[in-house]
Structure formats: structure tokens, C-alpha cells
């Protein structure tokens, strides 16, 4: 009983905060998402409709934004994984003197403001940015490449921003792989690459999955970077929700989109944690 009390006391403050500033507003939004919206008038009282949700699935524009968001999430996750794994491997298994500098290098971007980092990418990627200027001056291309206000720009910028999370998760996972187990595989006839694919990779799977969940969820819910690198026209769900609320004042539609995004995120976390459990059960 005292355990239970201690638990309540420990969890209480956080629970109150979450209920007050997260759960209640979310629940207040729920009815809003089922109201009709009349341009110029606002929310039509006592009107109930599923249209806000139906539109996300049926309307071509909304559908494109949803797919784009998921595609972006997937792309950023995969590139973070592909870029992050070698870095994490080097941090854990490389020379000891590289460990601290590399870790700092990975963490350092996290100390800079998100807006600053996104502006940095604008300076690099815009039509007259550093990258295009360099390529044009060296004569490699004639006209500037379109690196911003499209998927390329968002992928580059967001991969950079979320890479540290992936690397830190993978470092933790790699540190948990016992060296003796890898050595055992080697003495049993595994080449270095086979040791990696048959032992190291499966044993780091929990880290790969949790890192991927983290990056995916952060990416599909990100607002600032897509807004800055995607511009006013190239939208993802988060920027669309923002515009629905703040510019079109279409709160019902924005709420429906918000809920859809939340449901997607929760569904993905749930599915992945099921997979993780299966992996972790073995590891």
C-alpha cells in the first residue's frame, strides 16, 4: 500500500501537469474536429459532421500532404539510420581517442537553436546559396539545382537535425553488444561481415527500432524546419495544421488533422514497440 502511495506521489506532479496542459486541451479539441466550419462565420454551433476527417482521405491535396509527411518521415528515418550507424559504430568500436571528439561532434548541433540550424540550411541550399554557387562556379551545372521548397531540402535539413538522436540511441545499443559473442561467431567461421550481419545487427535491433521510432515521430510532427525549408507552398501535416488554425482559422479541419497525425504517431509507436518486444525478448 505504501508502495502504491509512493508511486502516486512520485508520478502525481507530472500526471497533473500532463492532464492540465495536454489531455484536457486535446479532449476539448475532439468535439471541435466534428463541427462544421463556414468561411467568414467560423465554427457552426450544434452542427455535427465527419467531413473534416473524410476530407483527409478523399481530398487529393490533403491526401498528398499526408503521404508526403509519411514519406518524409520514412526517408529521414532511413537516411538517419544509414548515416548514423557507421558513426555510432566508430564511436563505440573505433580508437578510444576519437570517442570524445566524435560524441561532441554529434551532440554539438543539439546546442544550436532549431531556427538557426534551419537558416543555415537556407543559406546553403537556396538558389543562390553556397552549394549552388559553388556548383555553378566550378561549371558542374548551368542552372541552380532546386534544393529547397521540395522533398530534397526537407530531407537534407531534417536528417541533419534528427541525426544526433539516432546516433545516441545506436551508440547505447552497440555498447550493449558483448564482444565475446562476436568473437565466438568469428571462431565458429564467420567472416567480419557475417559477424556483423548475423550477430551485431540483430543484437542492436532494439536500438535501431527505438531510434527509428524517435526520428520518425519527431519528423512527422516537426513544424519549424518544414516551414522554413518547405516555404509557404510545400506543406507537410504539421505546417498544414498550423495554417488551418492560424491563417484559415478553420479550427475543425485543423483539429481533425491533428488527431489524424496523433493517431498515426501512436499507431507507429505501438506497432514498433510490439516488434521491439519480440526482438528484445530474444536478446
Amino acid at each position: 500500500m505504501s508502495n502504491w502511495k509512493a508511486g502516486v506521489l512520485l508520478f502525481g506532479p507530472l500526471a497533473l501537469l500532463l492532464i492540465g496542459v495536454f489531455l484536457v486541451p486535446v479532449l476539448l479539441l475532439a468535439p471541435t474536429s466534428f463541427h462544421e466550419y463556414a468561411p467568414g462565420v467560423g465554427i457552426v454551433a450544434n452542427s455535427w459532421t465527419l467531413e473534416n476527417y473524410a476530407r483527409i482521405v478523399t481530398d487529393d491535396y490533403y491526401r498528398e500532404v499526408v503521404w508526403r509527411t509519411l514519406y518524409l518521415g520514412l526517408g529521414v528515418t532511413v537516411s538517419c539510420l544509414l548515416l548514423g550507424y557507421p558513426v555510432a559504430y566508430l564511436i563505440v568500436r573505433g580508437p578510444a581517442r576519437l570517442r570524445l571528439p566524435l560524441t561532441l561532434l554529434v551532440i554539438f548541433p543539439l546546442m544550436l537553436n532549431l531556427v538557426v540550424r534551419s537558416f543555415g540550411w537556407i543559406a546553403l541550399l537556396s538558389n543562390r546559396g553556397l552549394v549552388n554557387n559553388f556548383l555553378i562556379q566550378t561549371g558542374l551545372i548551368g542552372a541552380p539545382l532546386k534544393l529547397m521548397f521540395n522533398l530534397t531540402g526537407l530531407m537534407i535539413g531534417m536528417t541533419h537535425i534528427y541525426l544526433p538522436f539516432m546516433v545516441l540511441m545506436l551508440v547505447a545499443a552497440l555498447q550493449n553488444v558483448p564482444r565475446d559473442v562476436e568473437a565466438a561467431a568469428a571462431t565458429l567461421g564467420s567472416s567480419r561481415s557475417h559477424v556483423f550481419t548475423s550477430v551485431t545487427l540483430p543484437l542492436t535491433a532494439p536500438g535501431i527500432i527505438s531510434g527509428s521510432i524517435l526520428v520518425f515521430v519527431l519528423t512527422i510532427s516537426a513544424l519549424v524546419t518544414p516551414r522554413m525549408l518547405g516555404g509557404p507552398t510545400y506543406k507537410v501535416m504539421a505546417t498544414l495544421i498550423y495554417d488551418e488554425y492560424m491563417q484559415l482559422l478553420d479550427w475543425p479541419s485543423g483539429s481533425a488533422l491533428s488527431f489524424s497525425l496523433t493517431v498515426i504517431a501512436i499507431a507507429i509507436i505501438w506497432a514498433s514497440s510490439r516488434i521491439t518486444k519480440r526482438w528484445a525478448g530474444m536478446a
Binding site: 558483448p178 565475446d180 559473442v181 568473437a183 565466438a184 561467431a185 568469428a186 571462431t187 565458429l188 567461421g189 564467420s190 567472416s191 567480419r192 557475417h194 548475423s198 550477430v199 540483430p202 543484437l203 526482438w279 530474444m282 536478446a283
Partner: protein, 363 residues
């Protein structure tokens, strides 16, 4: 099946010398232990044979194949780790099948050989389990089956029983001995446990500070230690300082102060030389009357008695305030001596080890 030969093997880390110019030959099918305190270089030797550490110098040969620079996967060795090192994400069957699959064994042949290997360690019924569902002893048996299954040329054991509790360790020791005899695979076994090394091995190699101190049959190691280090490391010795009083053929007499002298069968130091004297607790007999003849008989007084089941330990004071620990069987005549009782220590000259004093031998 092959012999294993280490030829002037050495390993340095910068200035630190871990293994110094070590040469060792293990015959086909022989079971050899590397025995020594931690930090003596025994595990480094084993890991160099396994290919997990690159030697600084020297040669390693299995049979006719030189393997010094081969990667571990090309050496055809089986390695059993102290930490078991099973694949946690694979079943017991798949763990044992791992090495066989690398050799291209498939289908019913694979099934049969995994079953055979598991039967050898009496885990036939456990193929579907995951390592985490098994006890430490079972896991170590799986690790042995996994190492044996691909029929390696040489088996290597890195303190495989150290993580098990004492009772299980004794059982596993017997099982391991039976297994190795049955298979006849050349085996190098690393341990810091002398009882383990002596009972399992055909020959024991005692190491200290990266050197071989003595490489001989267990009986020789125990009864005829070659160096002060071996004498101090094996058994439960009382250690005394002495001076050679006289020589007599291969043996002689040593004085340990307080007018006490001991006859030793073997003595390599000239008259007047300093020696270290080792008297095993279990090689001393306590008697209530002096003994005639060649056996050393030293008068003393019982200071302390401590009963530990099979044995009784006595602390006996002899000569000028020298204390000697004696271990007597608790079923024997000398099992119930009181404090301050007058006794005579009887030690055969063959059990008096008088060896040239060595630097840092007590490490």
C-alpha cells in the same frame, strides 16, 4: 585432430610485456592447462591462438598449418568463453548449428550433428530454448556443444567454469574431462584454479609474468615444483626462509632459525646459500611423539585449532616463534588436539621444497 605449437610467442603493449618469448608444444589429443594468477598472460596466449589478439612476435602452428596471421574464422578452432558468449537471439539448436552452417553443412546432416553435439552435453531436449531460459551450467554446456560441433582441430577454454558455483563447477569438471577424453581433441585450457588444472590436464603449464615457470604432468607440478613460484602457487604451502647448512648428494639440510633444521631430498643451492622453503599444510603430519629415521621431526606447540569439515587446521609454533599451518584429516588421530599441546611435525624429506629465492614470486 592436430598438435598445437607455439614458437617464441610474445605480446607487448608498448613497454609492457604480457607474454615473453613463450614456446609450448601440445601433442595431438593432449589436454594442457595454462595455470597462473590473473595477469600472468595466460588468457593473452589463448586469445592469440584464437586469433583475437595479434602476437608481437613468434609463430603459432596447428599440425602443419601456420596460423599466426590467419583471421579467427580460418583457424578451425573452438573457443569456450568464461561468459558463455551464446548468441542470445538464437535458439540452442541454432547456436550449435552456427559453426556447422558456416561450413556448409545442411539438412538432415546438420540436424544430426547438432543433435549429436547436444547429446554429448546431455541437452538433447533443449534445442528449442533460448539461452536466457537456461541456467549458467546449461548455458556453458551449450557453449561446449557449439564449440565441438564443427569438429575443430583445437579446442580452447577460457576459464569456462569460473562463473559457476562450486558444486556445479565440480560436476562440470568431470563432464568436461569425460567429453575431452571421448573426443580426443587437442585442448588448451586456461584457468587460475589449480585443482581444476591438476585434475583435468595431461600436462599443466604454470605461468607467471608472461613466462612459463614449469610445464609438466600434474603429479610433477604438485610433487616436484621446479621454481619457488610454482611451490608457492600450488597447494597450500607454508613459506619459510632458510639457509643451506650442508649438502648430501642431491639433497641436503636447511636451517630455518631457532636451531631447527630440515632435510630435503632435492636441493639446488650450494652450502650457505639462501633458500625459500615450502611445506604444504597437507604434507605435514602431527604426532605426539618424535619420529625416528629420515623423516623430519620438529617439536612445536598448538596455538589454534580450526575445524572445517573434512579437515582440521592447526596453527603450530616451532623454533624461534615460527608459525606453521597444518591440515590434518578430521577422521585421523591428530584431529582433536588442544591448544598448547606439545606435538611433533613429521615431514618427509621429499615434501620439503627448498628453492632458490625468486624475485616477486608471491604475486
Amino acid at each position: 585432430m592436430s598438435s598445437l605449437k607455439l614458437d617464441h610467442l610474445s605480446k607487448h603493449y608498448g613497454e609492457a610485456v604480457i607474454v615473453r618469448d613463450l614456446s609450448l608444444e601440445i601433442a595431438n589429443g593432449e589436454f594442457v592447462s595454462l595455470l597462473g594468477p590473473s595477469g600472468c598472460g595466460k588468457t593473452t596466449v589463448l586469445r592469440m591462438v584464437a586469433g583475437l589478439i595479434a602476437p608481437t612476435g613468434g609463430k603459432i602452428t596447428i599440425g602443419e598449418r601456420e596460423i599466426t596471421v590467419l583471421p579467427p574464422n580460418k583457424r578451425r578452432i573452438g573457443l569456450v568463453f568464461q561468459s558463455y558468449a551464446l548468441f542470445p537471439h538464437l535458439t540452442v539448436f541454432e547456436n550449435v548449428a552456427f559453426g556447422l552452417r558456416r561450413q556448409g553443412v545442411k539438412g538432415s546432416e546438420l540436424e544430426k550433428r547438432v543433435k549429436d553435439a547436444l547429446a554429448l552435453v546431455r541437452l538433447d531436449a533443449f534445442g528449442d530454448r533460448y539461452p536466457r531460459q537456461m541456467s549458467g551450467g546449461q548455458q556453458q554446456r551449450v557453449a561446449m556443444a557449439r564449440a565441438i560441433a564443427p569438429r575443430p582441430d583445437v579446442l580452447l577454454f577460457d576459464e569456462p567454469l569460473s562463473n559457476l558455483d562450486a558444486k556445479l563447477r565440480d560436476e562440470m569438471q568431470i563432464e568436461l574431462k569425460r567429453l575431452q577424453r571421448e573426443l580426443g581433441i587437442t585442448t588448451l585450457f586456461v584457468t587460475h584454479d589449480q585443482a581444476e588444472a591438476l585434475s583435468l590436464s595431461d600436462r599443466v603449464c604454470v605461468m607467471a609474468h608472461g613466462n612459463i615457470e614449469q610445464f609438466a604432468a600434474p603429479e610433477d607440478i604438485y610433487h616436484r615444483p621446479a621454481t619457488a613460484f610454482v611451490a608457492s602457487f600450488i597447494g597450500k604451502p607454508n613459506r619459510l626462509a632458510g639457509k643451506v647448512a650442508s649438502r648430501n648428494g642431491a639433497g641436503g639440510t636447511v636451517e630455518i632459525g631457532g636451531g631447527v633444521t630440515l632435510n630435503a631430498d632435492r636441493l639446488d643451492v650450494a652450502t650457505g646459500g639462501e633458500v625459500e622453503l615450502f611445506l604444504r599444510q597437507e604434507a605435514i603430519e602431527l604426532r605426539t611423539t618424535p619420529t625416528e629415521g629420515p623423516v623430519n621431526s620438529i617439536p612445536g606447540t598448538v596455538q589454534l585449532r580450526s575445524f572445517s569439515g573434512a579437515h582440521v587446521q592447526y596453527v603450530v609454533r616451532i623454533g624461534a616463534n615460527t608459525e606453521i599451518v597444518v591440515e590434518a584429516p578430521s577422521s585421523g588421530a591428530a584431529s582433536n588436539l588442544e591448544k598448547d599441546a606439545s606435538v611433533y611435525l613429521a615431514v618427509a624429506p621429499a615434501n620439503v621444497f627448498a628453492l632458490a629465492a625468486a624475485e616477486g614470486a608471491r604475486s
